[in-house]
């Protein structure tokens, strides 16, 4: 069950667009069709209440902490990760290599170790989660020159810490050394 949102502007005549599927009405149970007023006319069936409650807490948290502060934290960690990976012998890091110019995901490869093996060992031996392969983005990997092998990708976020980045770097250092 997902949560979707629809923003309807004032200039929109909401009676003019038809939904793909209607019902159940959610409020006027005696009718086969949706009520003709908002928001009921766009809210068929059972709302994902738990999902929406979670989304509300998320949004509140982001607003409280501030988008800028979250981004600054990510840039700090991304910078540390990129710079740490770059100096490991046998590791190739891809992308802009500039934390200010990219999101908080960093792609890399370990020489002589396919991404699938690196990912499995990071999970198995170090408890580090990552995404390996083509990331459902074959065109991006063709651009990087990493198609069809792909890369290992670490993703950082608001809850990641510098200590975790250090742990991850230590794990990659060890794997790269073994693979040489």
């Amino acid at each position: 069950m997902g949560t979707g949102g629809l923003i309807v502007g004032e200039r929109v005549d909401e009676t003019q667009f038809e939904p793909q599927v209607r019902g159940g009405t959610g409020s006027h149970s005696e009718h086969e069709r949706q009520p003709d007023f908002l928001p009921d006319m766009r809210e068929s069936g059972t709302p994902n209440v738990v999902g929406m409650a979670g989304l509300q807490v998320d949004v509140r948290w982001v607003l409280e902490r501030g988008v800028e502060a979250i981004r600054a934290h990510e840039v700090t960690l991304t910078h540390a990760l990129i710079e740490g990976l770059r100096v490991i012998p046998g590791v190739a890091v891809y992308g802009a290599l500039d934390a200010e110019l990219q999101t908080a995901t960093v792609s890399f490869n370990i020489e002589n170790m396919p991404p699938s093996e690196a990912g499995l060992r990071l999970d198995d031996e170090y408890g580090i989660m990552c995404r390996v392969g083509l990331h459902c983005a074959p065109a991006a990997h063709r651009t990087l020159g990493t198609f069809p092998v792909g890369t290992v990708r670490f993703g950082l976020g608001a809850f990641s810490t510098l200590g975790e980045v250090e742990t991850a770097l230590g794990a990659v250092r060890q794997l790269a050394q073994e693979a040489r």
Binding site: P114, V132, G150
Partner: protein, 75 residues
């Protein structure tokens, strides 16, 4: 016994992989979801890894539960 220790089952989708894991666990067969090894496919999903000794039992359990397998490989 041959040189390899594991057998890998490739499946058509991640939901099959999750179902296979459930079926095998229920059948008491040790298994692990792992990233699809690069030399088997460029697919970036997961596949099932089991001990090679369990291969026949596992295939039977999966067939009984109608989980389709795309391919079986040694690892």
């Amino acid at each position: 016994m041959s040189g390899s220790q594991y057998a890998v089952f490739l499946v058509y989708s991640t939901s099959y992989a999750l179902r296979a894991e459930k079926v095998l666990q229920k059948a008491g067969i040790a298994c692990k979801l792992i990233p699809v090894p690069r030399h088997l496919s460029s697919d970036c999903g997961v596949c099932i890894r089991i001990d090679q000794a369990d291969q026949e039992t596992a295939l039977q359990a999966l067939e009984a539960a109608r989980v389709q397998i795309e391919g079986v490989h040694e690892l």
